[in-house]
């Protein structure tokens, strides 16, 4: 192991399901509170105190749900692909579990992004759905999630399922830059990005501040949902191991 010094110790520890179960147990309340506070505060600020848009009036407020869910749906896919790759390369069981837990969460968030987009599209574009590049590529993302879930449930052997799914998720990664740049590459109805790392947002600070809080809140919510699923997955898979049996006995007393 002397030549593997560059891999930090916590990375190895993460590979242990038991250690992972313990650490997520400690982190869970932290993220749950953060998610609750950010989402409640962000929602209140966004819906009650942020100024109305000069063109769209109050209908623009759905941005505070739509943008965070759209960002998160893509981030979740990337996490799924990266975790899958880690599972493929280092044969880490926990990474496979993480990848597996990502798919249903990501799919639901993608549905939320598409639904809020449709609701927002009706008053602004006059249609629930347009076959525009951004919308279509987002729909493809949802289909990719479906494909990943279908493949994962079709293969009996858990290790094979995880590896196959990881390959598929990595192939589907091609779609992420397409979604990102679709508004720049094609002339679309969809507006360009609200947040970029290089430029100042075009909206006033009292408008984008609650949006930023909502994005952070969505990420914290994702972490909570993810960890709950992961813990469930760990206990299910390790049900034959001593520590899980002890855990169950301790809880049933």
């Amino acid at each position: 192991m002397a030549d593997k010094k560059w891999v930090p110790r916590w990375f190895y520890q993460l590979a242990s399901p038991r250690w992972c179960y313990d650490i997520t147990g400690k982190l869970l309340p932290l993220f749950a509170w953060a998610a609750l506070l950010l989402l409640l505060g962000g929602t209140a600020w966004a819906l009650a105190f942020a100024p109305a848009d000069y063109q769209q009036g109050n209908s623009f407020r759905i941005i505070y749900i739509h943008v965070p869910s759209a960002i998160l749906a893509q981030s979740c896919y990337m996490l799924m692909a990266i975790a899958g790759a880690v599972g493929l390369i280092w044969k880490m069981k926990v990474a496979d579990m993480v990848a597996r837990c990502c798919a249903p969460i990501g799919a639901s968030i993608a549905v939320l992004a598409l639904a809020t987009g449709a609701i927002w599209g009706k008053p602004t574009w006059g249609a629930w759905w347009v076959w525009d590049a951004r919308l279509t590529s987002m729909l493809i993302l949802l289909f990719l999630y479906f494909g990943v879930m279908a493949l994962n449930s079709a293969i009996e052997n858990q290790t094979t399922a995880a590896q196959s799914t990881a390959v598929l998720a990595l192939v589907g990664l091609v779609n992420i830059p397409i979604i990102k740049y679709s508004v720049d590459w094609w002339n679309t109805l969809h507006q360009p990005a609200t947040f970029t790392l290089t430029e100042k947002p075009a909206m006033p600070v009292e408008m984008w501040m609650p949006l930023l809080i909502m994005v952070l809140g969505f990420y914290c919510f994702f972490a909570v949902a993810m960890m709950l699923r992961l813990r469930n997955e760990i206990v299910t898979r390790e049900r034959r191991s001593g520590w899980v049996k002890e855990l169950v006995q301790a809880q049933s007393r």
Binding site: F146, L151, S164
Partner: protein, 229 residues
């Protein structure tokens, strides 16, 4: 390629074998083509037989039919090799899997994509596609169908060990086909309206090159995973 000569021999050997196998099983060769014809003829019957309407939807219908025909033929791509143990022997052989995969996909494309491209003028006439669009349609199919075979082979490799691979392949592969479909029909539409189609063809070519370089790795990895279980 240190063993360039051997690798090349190997590539042509696999290609020849696969082509020979499909010519021995004529039905596998002809079925996707018949399917292609049938699907395209459903549209005039199911939607509208009006020439003005058909000429508008012809490129899209032909592309979708080609895509579905390719999809239909994918299931058998690695299945027989998997079942009779040839696949395992290939995985154990010292030759790069990349080459085998490339040869097999190339053979598959010659049986489906190339054949579909050659058949497409017939469908174009059936669907009243304007003559100006013919070359655009054929060029887009010629550049697009190899990508369909490459992407489809990933799905076929992932599901080769499964009993119910057919529907699953569609689920995995169709989302990835959408960009090819968009640029393919775009090229044909541009040709009909007299717009330059070089941009569309360049994009299809770029996707093909990307697929040629990256897809064989994914296919090879997927085959190793499927065979190891």
């Amino acid at each position: 390629m240190t063993n360039g000569g051997a690798g090349e021999m190997f590539f042509w050997g696999v290609l020849k074998r696969d082509l020979l196998l499909s010519f021995r099983r004529k039905s596998d060769l002809v079925n996707p083509l018949i399917f292609f014809l049938m699907v395209a003829s459903l549209f005039p019957l199911g939607v509208s037989p009006e020439p003005t309407f058909l000429e508008e939807v012809a490129p899209g219908v032909i592309w979708v039919a080609a895509l579905l025909a390719t999809l239909l033929s994918l299931d058998g791509l690695f299945r027989s090799d998997f079942e009779d143990g040839t696949l395992e022997q290939t995985l154990l052989s010292p030759q790069p899997l990349f080459l085998v995969v490339l040869a097999k996909v190339f053979a598959h494309w010659m049986m489906t994509g190339l054949a579909l491209t050659l058949l497409s003028p017939l469908l174009a006439v059936m669907l009243f596609l304007p003559v100006e669009g013919m070359w655009g349609l054929m060029a887009s199919l010629l550049l697009g169908t190899p990508t369909l075979s490459l992407i489809g082979a990933i799905g076929a490799a992932l599901t080769v060990g499964l009993r119910k691979g057919g529907v699953l392949i569609s689920l995995l592969v169709l989302p990835l086909y959408i960009p090819v479909l968009i640029f393919g029909t775009g090229a044909a539409q541009a040709a009909i309206t007299g717009l330059p189609l070089s941009g569309y063809l360049a994009l299809l070519g770029a996707i093909l090159v990307l697929g040629l370089v990256l897809a064989p790795f994914a296919i090879a990895a997927a085959l190793r995973i499927s065979a190891s279980s």
